[in-house]
């Protein structure tokens, strides 16, 4: 892959430094590789996100007003180590404890757990909510095996909004968990990603197939389907979302997020949205807000995902609050 980088092994550190600059002084760098908002509400529970680098603008691009309070940043495709989790935890904590909100990957779980143990040693209360919105990565009865993918954008937005209004960590945990419980994603990939350090594709995919449910590093999902039209693909993805254990009924209000994994052009996202909306409309599902963007990405990878977040009255109120970050901003 022809990449605009310097030393391939320094990508994570360098993109992190660039990201801090992209925030125009609204966040500051902390320790080795964490960033934290400058303007934190005093005496409030904190929201910390994080994960591996190379998927920008997530995860660390979702820090800001009405979004996360800070982020712990790992190496390319690798969860942040515990000492980085700790430095970020200390920096966002305002005496009311810290919620760790991240995607369900073994590395993230272990490193945030160890980081949380270190923070507990320092007297900081830490709770964890794990994002596992990826329908295709495990059946509903094995939800603990599901990955976190596109859904982390609406979930971070809702938890971030909650963090601006709630008074206790438990309230923040309750709302973040509700956002997770109410969010499902189905994604597909059409072209593999690559790792900057090696330039090698992380998986192979023939020209005439689509990887259904494939993860953002090439982890397999439901399997391969033949290359098809946008209309067929939109229907297929929605079918998988409807078939999952989260009921979607007439009258339900949702956030609908159409995401590109990076190399899929926005034209294609819009053509998919055009196909998807009539299907949602026909079921009486009301789209309260649409996001069409490339936020959950992987180096060079092409593919798309649909995420649906069901809004109850509480979540809808939180959704409607403004938010601002490098990766997602809403008036």
């Amino acid at each position: 892959a022809k990449k605009i980088i310097n030393d391939p092994l320094k990508c994570a550190d360098e993109l992190f430094e660039g990201l801090v600059l992209a925030y125009d002084g609204k966040v500051r760098r902390v320790g080795k590789r964490s960033l934290v908002m400058n303007d934190l509400r005093p005496d409030a529970p904190a929201l910390l996100v994080g994960g591996g680098a190379g998927h920008e603008p997530i995860y660390h691009g979702l820090v800001g007003k009405g979004m996360a309070d800070g982020a712990a940043v790992g190496e390319i495709f690798a969860a942040p180590p515990p000492d980085i989790v700790l430095e970020a935890t200390q920096a966002v904590n305002r005496g009311k404890g810290v919620l760790f909100l991240y995607g369900n990957y073994a590395g993230d779980v272990m490193n945030f757990d160890i980081g949380g143990e270190l923070a507990a040693d320092e007297g900081i209360t830490v709770k964890t909510v794990i994002i596992n919105d990826d329908v295709c990565s495990a059946p509903p009865d094995k939800k603990q095996n599901r990955r976190g993918v596109g859904g982390l954008v609406p979930i971070t937005k809702l938890a971030g909004a909650a963090a601006t209004v709630v008074d206790s960590l438990d309230e923040l945990v309750r709302i973040a968990q509700k956002a997770v419980d109410n969010t499902r994603t189905v994604g597909v990939s059409t072209k593999p990603g690559s790792i900057p350090a090696t330039g090698e594709p992380t998986f192979e995919l023939a020209d005439d197939v689509i990887g259904l449910g494939m993860g953002i590093h090439g982890e397999k999902g439901v399997g391969l389907i033949p290359m098809c039209t946008a209309d067929e693909l939109a229907a297929k993805i929605l079918d998988l979302l409807f078939a999952d254990d989260m009921p979607l009924n007439a009258g339900d209000e949702i956030v609908f997020f159409v995401n590109s994994l990076g190399s899929t052009h926005m034209m294609e996202l819009l053509i998919l949205l055009r196909a998807a909306r009539p299907i949602l409309d026909a079921r009486g599902i009301k789209v309260h807000h649409t996001i069409v963007d490339s936020i959950v990405t992987c180096q060079e990878m092409a593919g798309v995902s649909f995420s649906i977040t069901k809004l109850d009255a509480e979540l809808k109120k939180l959704w409607d609050l403004p938010c601002e970050s490098v990766g997602y901003t809403k008036l």
Binding site: A78, P82, S137, A138, E219
Partner: protein, 210 residues
């Protein structure tokens, strides 16, 4: 026969170089089943280990291993940073009382390492992880407490190698490969490969006339 703290330090430097050299193979193993970064992470970890161990005045065997584990845990991130960090930290602490790295104490090291990794990651033997190389190594260590160090380590390394080979037939239950199902049969686990590289490096260190 047993190693001095400084010899353990030199052994771990040799382990570090072996992993750094094996980076392409380890990355390829992780491309087959995961996200392709295992070799890079291990290399990064081992460079941090070298930076710590090279200037170290080794005071104890425990210190060398805990320093190794902490360097890996704080520099690597990812699943293997937490797991290999835990492995060396737990294993090293188990040698605190005896202070020795010799055949009678090797079971302490490997069993504590195994227990730490299993507790941290929740995986068990047969799940197609590094545990499938580490568990046979620990079992073998318990059997060879009466052998000379070089022979003991060699037997342990062979056990790990067999375990890594056996991992090829397994269907992954943990890590990124867990969503692959049957498709992962035929490929060895990347973490298990790292265990084998490490033990082979230990073998060649102790066999070269220590």
């Amino acid at each position: 026969m047993q190693l001095t703290p400084n010899q353990v330090r030199l052994m771990m430097l040799q382990v570090a170089d072996a992993i750094i050299e094996a980076e392409p193979m380890l990355s390829q193993a992780d491309r087959d089943l995961g996200d392709g970064d295992h070799g890079l992470g291990m290399k990064r970890g081992m460079e941090a280990v070298k930076a710590q161990l090279e200037p170290l005045e080794a005071a104890s065997v425990e210190q060398v291993f805990v320093t190794t584990g902490t360097a890996m845990m704080t520099s690597m991130g990812g699943a293997s940073g937490a797991l290999f960090g835990t492995l060396f930290r737990a294993g090293g602490k188990a040698l605190a009382a005896s202070g020795n790295f010799d055949p009678p104490d090797l079971p302490l090291f490997f069993e504590a390492a195994l227990e730490g990794v299993m507790k941290r990651g929740g995986a068990k033997p047969g799940d197609k992880t590094m545990i499938d190389a580490l568990a046979p190594a620990a079992a073998k260590a318990r059997e060879v407490t009466a052998l000379p160090l070089a022979e003991a380590i060699s037997a342990i390394a062979d056990a790990a190698e067999s375990g890594k080979e056996a991992s090829k037939a397994m269907v992954a239950q943990f890590g990124r490969a867990k969503t692959l199902g049957e498709a992962c049969i035929g490929f060895p686990d990347a973490g298990a490969c790292s265990i084998v590289v490490m033990l082979n490096a230990m073998r060649s260190f102790v066999s070269c006339g220590v």
